[in-house]
């Protein structure tokens, strides 16, 4: 884990930590932007995956729903990554030395891939009709929504988890 230790040492010595901790209100403000972005990810994923489950917007093709909401998903994930880096910089020895942080990143990656993969799935399955969705897509949609819920759970858990043994204090 020396790579992580080196990274946190480098980050701690960079101009970012003094910048984000220069005002008491800055870290909570960044967290607010982080939460707003999570809401954007959730509602975009809900649209794409519930369309695949034939719950909403059944009168339009899944590809059309994905075309409108995938840009929202990617933009929000970009803001989450940026605000996430700033939050890590506020406490370089905290999140990255907790297992649940890495679990969250893996869950978020899988959830994003499962959500973004929906329209591709539709093309390869030949289900391009307005309401037609394959059973494989439905399984993928449920999986994606569960993965997003678990991502939020893991994210909140960073605040309560202990660092792993040997982590810098």
């Amino acid at each position: 884990m020396s790579v992580l230790t080196d990274f946190s040492t480098w980050l701690a010595a960079s101009p970012l930590p003094p910048l984000v901790t220069s005002h008491d209100w800055l870290v909570p403000a960044i967290q607010v932007v982080h939460i707003l972005s999570i809401a954007a990810v959730v509602i975009a994923s809900v649209h794409i995956n519930l369309r695949a489950l034939n719950v909403i917007e059944r009168d339009v093709a899944l590809g059309d729903v994905a075309d409108r909401f995938l840009p929202v998903l990617w933009a929000a994930l970009g803001v989450l990554a940026l605000t996430g880096v700033l939050l890590i910089a506020s406490e370089p020895n905290r999140a990255i030395f907790r297992y649940v942080f890495w679990v969250k990143l893996v869950l978020a990656t899988l959830a994003a891939l499962a959500t973004a993969g929906q329209p591709r799935f539709a093309l390869s399955g030949g289900a391009q009709g307005a309401a037609a969705v394959s059973s494989g897509q439905k399984v993928l949609a449920v999986l994606a929504l569960v993965l997003w819920a678990l991502t939020i759970y893991a994210g909140r858990w960073i605040a309560y988890a202990d660092p792993w043994a040997g982590a810098p204090s």
Binding site: I35, I38, I43, P71, I152, R156
Partner: protein, 158 residues
């Protein structure tokens, strides 16, 4: 009955003891609260953006409103239930916290704004040029961002 008496009454319940004794229960309920509020916030934001005339939603403002209302209401009920449970973890602290009071005041304003929209402006949605629904959407967006901000500040000031 004063706020202090109510807070003390809540603090003396077995739920309060269970929450403070458990190492995982508060975080678990809080996670569901976050999930619920993202549903409320996400669905309301899409409706507000549609009222303003922008955003990714398809169809008329009325259609978007009806499509997303189950998510707003479902998320709100879940957030209200989990939020009520979370209060038991530190009722006396919350009762004295400025941002806790501010959050609920803003929630009340958001409710009034939604009610005013429903009673007076919703019928004007067919008139695309009407300014009232746009103002209502803008006010709602500002209120909900403020609700999230005050809620986040509770954790830093309690």
């Amino acid at each position: 009955m004063s706020i202090e008496t109510i807070a003390q009454g809540l603090a003396d319940t077995s739920l309060a003891t269970t929450l403070t004794d458990s190492s995982w229960l508060f975080g678990a309920v809080e996670s569901i609260h976050v999930l619920a509020l993202t549903l409320v916030l996400g669905s309301i934001t899409l409706v507000d953006l549609r009222l303003i005339g922008i955003g990714p939603s398809r169809g008329s403002a009325e259609q978007v409103l009806h499509r997303l209302l189950p998510f707003t209401l479902g998320g709100f009920v879940l957030a209200a239930i989990t939020g009520s449970v979370l209060i038991f973890a530190n009722p006396i602290g919350y009762s004295k916290n400025f941002f806790f009071a501010a959050k609920f005041s803003l929630l009340a304003l958001a409710g009034i704004n939604a009610l005013v929209f429903h009673i007076f402006f919703q019928r004007r949605l067919v008139d695309g040029a009407s300014l009232a629904p746009r103002i209502s959407g803008g006010v709602s967006l500002a209120l909900w961002v403020s609700i999230i901000a005050t809620a986040r500040w509770i954790g830093y000031t309690i």
